[in-house]
Amino acid sequence: MRDITPLVAPRSIAVIGASANPAKSGGVLFDNLVKGNFRGPLYPINRTATQIMGKAAYPTLADVPEKVDLVYIVLPQQHVEDAVKQCVAAGARAACIITAGFSEASQKGRGAEERLCEIARASGLLLAGPNTIGMVNAEVGMMGSFVNFPRWEPGGVSFFTQTGIFTGAVMLHVMSGASQRLPVGKSIDVGNKVDVDELDFLHFVAADPTTKVIGLYIESIRNPRAFFEQAREVRKSKPIVVLKPGRTKDGAKASASHTGSLASDNDILDGALRQYGIARAEDEDDFLNALRALVMLPRPRGKRVGIATTSGALGVIATDLLVESGLELAAFEPATLAAMRAILPDWLEPANPFDFWIGIDIKGPREAHEVGLTALFADPNVDLVLCTLLAPGNADFPEFGDLVRRLRRTYDKPVALVIYGGEAEQRWTAALEGAGVPIFKTTRAAARALSLMVEATMSP
């Protein structure tokens, strides 16, 4: 086990290839580091400039007056190897190679990448990349990426990704939302993953007090046994969601045995993730929704869901999705049913899903929501709550936000909310900002988020 703190939370940073030109990757990356208010010294390395963005520039890394923790390398491909050697010679502890054009591009690139790997192994230099958008750690003000992120603040979600531009796209998407923003505080993209890997990252986040929830986008696991053993420990306090594409890539291989042709890496990985209680997201939507639920909500105590809805159809849709995902419908206590009857007409018997639209007609929106939702939240058989609520004018009431905040606080149960089309939708959403209630666009998204949450937190 090794400590990747110098890479993820460095005390000092140099950028080889920093420039004052905002059209170049090295220019944007350095600009982002400066504007992000990195907490330690920043050293632009540039042969000709004396100063970049107000920071004194040095012609080579050897000229920098201290041994830096981390060096970003933003150079044309043919100069990268030499720069990595300079990092080793100058006593740097970590390097992040932004440059692309290695194993992802060609056989020649693969050879160059293997040489980088050998240098890292021989010297102990921590290496991220090549072919990465870079690394962000809001806690230390490190916005080390050539993607121009609009804003960044510390948060409980930590990302580890093994990809290039996808990470940047996901981060931009995450940050573009006006409300319900996923609080990602760290995003470590290792690109082609020549050296630092998911196991190093798990060791780091295990000891990181800020990290509450972990999101991994991985194309492979380097050392599955060690990874799963570590994940088993980490998930006890920090749930893990994995997005690993390529479910359909491996067809049947020719093999002497049936087992040989069935044992694709994907299928074995799928079994192992279930075995160790790591949630597997199917796509980027699933991934972000699960992380949002996990970081905003308390841990579920079981897998029995109570559904409250003001549309019978949405209740049935939710039931299908939840049961298909392995969750169960809660059986309501007699006291719950009695409380629910108070807002329904004599001819309608409450059930799960609890459809109380008609209660709005009878008792008005405030009382119907308050009595109905309180009964559902209070039921001891309900471990998780899914609400699909319609928001036309006649269902609206000014205290909606206060009611849901109070229920969330009083019962401390995981709740997923879908607010369906209507005048009140934006106001309800705004009223719940910061309340720890995730709001989802569709019933599917909400149901998937709850089921992935159960996978990631409960005993597998």
Binding site: R225, A256, S257, H258, T259, L269, A272, Q275, P460
Partner: protein, 240 residues
């Protein structure tokens, strides 16, 4: 020439290595399973068709007749498995038919002989396997077996060794596993016997000799009835 195989895995491995093959024959694999406490149907391997009737008279009818050749790992594909065979004379004829089919489809293969076993139908057929995967290490697979196993893909994997919870998950993860609880009026199979096979393979996965030499142990089909389980076919592949 066929001899009755020993169940000692070290000897079986040594014999296979000496012959430069990395697949154990079905009688060898079954001798090993029997030594591990996993039941196989009563039966005997013979070198020549004319020896078949004696074996049938010992076993009683019906029997299944199969080609024995370690290179022939997908016997059904070339018609090298015949069942139910209802008389001693029919068993001898089945041996000759199988020999002719193998000669026609796979002239590259030399038959070692024929395996005559008591015929035990399996409905459904299950598959259980231990694989020493090059990337993940030892893994256990369980699922719906038979010849359509790749088509239906009702199988699940877990990293070995397995705990009780892992075994329960393997026995319930796919829709087809509901058949373990009985279906269409059939008595549910002996679940504990199925669990026992999984646990045995899990134990084997931790033995140094198995890890060092064996790439796969596959039982397909495994019959599971209310009276227990029976490995109807088995394949052991060594690391090449």
């Amino acid at each position: 020439m066929l001899t009755q195989a020993s169940g000692d895995i070290a000897m079986l491995i040594a014999a296979a290595r000496a012959q430069r093959r990395n697949v154990l024959s079905e009688p060898e694999a079954k001798a090993f399973l029997r030594a591990q406490g996993i039941s196989v149907p009563p039966g005997r391997a013979v070198a020549h068709p004319e020896e078949a009737p004696t074996v049938v008279r010992e076993l009683g009818v019906p029997v299944v007749v199969k080609a024995v050749a370690h290179q022939l790992t997908h016997k059904t594909d070339v018609g090298a498995v015949m069942f139910p065979v209802e008389s001693p004379a029919a068993a001898e004829a089945a041996c000759r038919t199988i020999a002719a089919r193998v000669a026609a489809h796979r002239p590259d293969i030399a038959l070692d002989g024929f395996l005559i076993e008591a015929y035990r139908p399996a409905q459904p057929e299950w598959i259980v396997a231990l694989r020493n995967d090059p990337h993940f290490g030892p893994v256990i697979m369980f699922g719906l077996g038979g010849i359509y196993v790749e088509t239906l893909r009702q199988v699940s994997f877990r990293l070995a060794p397995l705990c009780d919870r892992d075994i329960e998950a393997l026995l319930s993860e796919r829709p087809a596993m509901q058949l373990l609880s009985g279906a269409r009026g059939r008595a549910p199979p002996d679940r504990r016997a199925v669990v026992g096979v999984l646990r045995r393979l899990s134990d084997l996965s931790q033995q140094p000799l198995i890890v060092r030499d064996i790439s796969e142990i596959e039982i397909n089909p495994l019959a599971a009835t209310e009276n227990g389980v029976l490995a109807l076919d088995a394949l052991i592949v060594l690391h090449s």
